[in-house]
């Protein structure tokens, strides 16, 4: 009798655990969104969310996937690494989502990926470019549940180093990094390796802390070393200020950056006259003549009444990317099947290019180089991996 009772209690207990999971699997597919919607890099998260929402609306209008509509559970991680992990945990455990989209930045994604690995939920970042986002730094192994739909920094750093050394044919470079950002440090490292290999020399390396606004002292110091080019892999807030303050100090050399420069705020802060001779690598250019790109721009404008930037495009692609994987996995609840489907993505055609997921869960795709001419983004060249 006692045994029977304990078994009964156990069964009841198990039911209590399982029931909510069953109840959750109703008519929608729950997808979590863990993005930077406020504070330091809110601009990235906001635009990516716009893109994701546009994609999901389109998919739902066409009847959803496997007969079910996508339901987004959106939580703001406040541009904070720790918060990004809390949000991912909440999405995985409490909201029981099938997959998590985001975060936008490398540091936040690395932190959130710990939760993804622990609760075995696929997490896909649209724009975390740091190399170690998908690879465990200690063991060197791929993080099973972490994916991204953008290229990584070794690729981006190489592209910019080769651009400086081979296209611009410059020898002496100065580097300015944001010491509080994994993205910035990773890019600087890759740039340095490739640039030195190509015969260039790094004449100055400077870094600054979080939220810095005054770059005059480090720029004055750099000016003294007479570099021919400055590489500043920073986010938009600092990028505009660095360009402006460098030009005001009479440093008129080319300033190179990465996808962090891809925001109208850069030109607004630097001012139109100073926004010349600036080059950066980006995920997509709105001047691309591809039909898919043009359609995306038209639809985005219709919905938000604004020009989409690369982050909006990355968000949009991410929406379709995950939908494509869910369809191929043929499941709306099984995270494990979805993970396998994500791993085998081949020739996914998005707005930002054709995506093949490689063995390290990176997206193999092309990058474009954009030049600022009087503050206007002009397409310079396209580079394949």
């Amino acid at each position: 009798m006692k045994k029977f009772l304990s078994v009964l209690v156990l069964v009841l207990f198990l039911c209590l655990i399982i029931l909510p999971t069953l109840a959750a699997s109703n008519n929608t597919i729950k997808i979590g969104v863990d993005l930077e919607l406020s504070q330091a890099v809110a601009q990235y998260g906001q635009r990516e969310l716009d893109g994701i929402k546009l994609a999901v609306d389109e998919i739902n209008k066409k009847g959803g996937i496997l007969g079910k509509k996508i339901e987004l559970v959106i939580i703001d991680n406040k541009s904070d690494k720790t918060e990004a992990m809390n949000v991912a945990t909440k999405l995985a455990v409490k909201e029981k989502v099938l997959a998590i989209l985001g975060p936008a930045t490398s540091g936040a994604t690395k932190s959130a990926s710990q939760a993804a690995m622990q609760y075995k939920v696929p997490i896909i970042s649209p724009s975390a470019t740091d190399d170690t986002v998908t690879i465990n730094e200690r063991t060197g192994k791929v993080k099973t549940y972490v994916f991204r739909t953008c290229f990584n920094d070794s690729f981006q750093g190489n592209v910019m180093a080769n651009f400086a050394a081979k296209t611009l044919k410059l020898k002496n470079a100065a580097i300015i990094t944001d010491a509080s950002s994994d993205y910035s440090k990773g890019l600087a490292k890759n740039f340095k390796t490739t640039f030195t290999k190509a015969g260039g020399k790094i004449v100055a390396e400077e870094s600054f802390g979080k939220g810095e606004q005054d770059f005059n002292s480090i720029l004055t110091k750099i000016r003294d070393k007479k570099p021919e080019v400055i590489f500043a892999p920073v986010y938009y807030d600092e990028a505009g200020l660095i360009i402006k303050q460098a030009r005001e100090l009479g440093l008129n050399v080319p300033i190179l950056g990465a996808d962090g420069f891809d925001d109208p705020k850069v030109v607004e802060k630097a001012g139109k006259t100073y926004s010349n001779n600036v080059f950066f690598s980006a995920h997509y250019s709105s001047q691309d003549t591809d039909k898919k790109v043009k359609d995306f721009i038209t639809n985005y404008k219709k919905k938000y009444n604004a020009e989409p930037n690369a982050f909006a495009a990355l968000g949009y692609d991410l929406g379709y990317f995950v939908a494509d994987a869910i369809k191929r996995a043929n499941t709306t609840t099984d995270r494990e099947k979805l993970r396998k489907a994500l791993e085998t993505t081949k020739n996914f055609v998005g707005v930002t290019g054709v995506i093949n997921v490689d063995k390290n869960h990176n997206a193999e795709k092309s990058a474009v180089i954009i030049e600022l001419k009087d503050g206007v983004q002009t397409f310079k060249q396209k580079l394949n991996p």
């Binding site: 809110a42 601009q43 005059n216 002292s217 807030d237």
Partner: protein, 294 residues
């Protein structure tokens, strides 16, 4: 040599902002012994008020500066009346915690109203760079504005404190508020007036930073607020010339540290100075050692 002078110009520009904020800290501390941690956020509000004046009301730079100073003076008085006055007789620590609360309130309120993202302060003044000594030294018109406006405000403040009746009342309350009350000085009005002046100066600092760095955000007051506190302690908290001296020295030290060492150490150096001063001369550079009366 030229690089050093250029760094000095950068340092003085940065220092003038610290000095403007430090003045408010020091005056409030001098009069009611309160470290007003919300002061850095008043500076932020000042920058946003000028931003609104310029962008939405299409004003010029000077009117925006004046409106922002007046608004923040009022804000300072309101904060004092609502948050600090009811706690006038409570322990020092509860007032300090309230100050932190007010600081968080202002930061988050601004994030709700104006958004969490940084804003670009419009170009109200044309960019002009002056080249001196064969291009060896560069100074922008905005740097000149910053330094000149700071100096004018300091001279005005000095005049108010030294030569007006209100200034006399401020000095009296700072020395002994009970005795001042017995002499017929309205202590509450004097304290409010101190908050008004201090907040107006902080607002001016915010507007100048907006003009110079073109970028403002709701959390911009946190670090400069702390640095200004260091500057105030450095010069001797409660002493007005000390705040100016502390502000300028801190700006120059920071610039030289990042110019000749690494930018990463400059905050560390600023706070190391604070610790050092507290260890060696707790009253600050210009402070006198006053024995506690029994």
């Amino acid at each position: 040599m030229w690089t050093f002078l250029q760094q000095l110009i950068n340092g003085i520009t940065l220092g003038s902002v610290y000095a403007l904020i430090a003045l408010g800290y020091t005056m409030v501390y001098g009069i009611i012994k309160l470290i007003n941690f919300a002061h850095g956020d008043v500076y932020m509000v000042g920058a946003y008020i000028a931003f609104i004046c310029v962008v939405y009301l299409h004003m010029g730079f000077l009117p925006a500066l004046i409106i922002s100073m007046v608004f923040c003076a009022l804000l300072g008085v309101i904060i004092e009346k609502l948050a600090y006055k009811p706690l006038r007789n409570s322990s020092r620590i509860s007032v300090l915690i309230t100050a932190i609360g007010v600081s968080l309130l202002l930061e988050n309120l601004m994030q709700i109203i104006m958004g969490a993202d940084s804003r670009v302060f419009p170009k109200v003044v044309a960019d002009n760079n002056y080249k001196l000594f064969n291009n060896h030294l560069l100074i922008s018109n905005k740097q000149i504005y910053m330094i000149i406006i700071t100096i004018i405000l300091m001279i005005l403040l000095n005049y108010v404190v030294k030569n007006t009746k209100m200034g006399k009342a401020m000095r009296a309350v700072a020395q002994d508020s009970d005795a001042a009350r017995l002499m017929g000085i309205n202590v509450d009005t004097t304290i409010s007036f101190t908050f008004a002046i201090g907040s107006a100066l902080a607002a001016a600092g915010g507007v100048l930073v907006g003009l110079y760095y073109v970028s403002i955000n709701p959390l911009m007051g946190v670090l400069p607020g702390l640095k200004a506190f260091v500057a105030a302690v450095f010069g001797g908290i409660g002493i007005i010339p000390g705040a100016m001296l502390g502000g300028f020295s801190l700006g120059i030290v920071e610039t030289l540290v990042s110019g000749y060492g690494s930018s990463m150490y400059k905050d560390a150096v600023a706070f190391a100075i604070l610790i050092l001063i507290l260890l060696v001369k707790p009253t600050g550079l210009l402070g006198k050692n006053i024995k506690e009366k029994v």
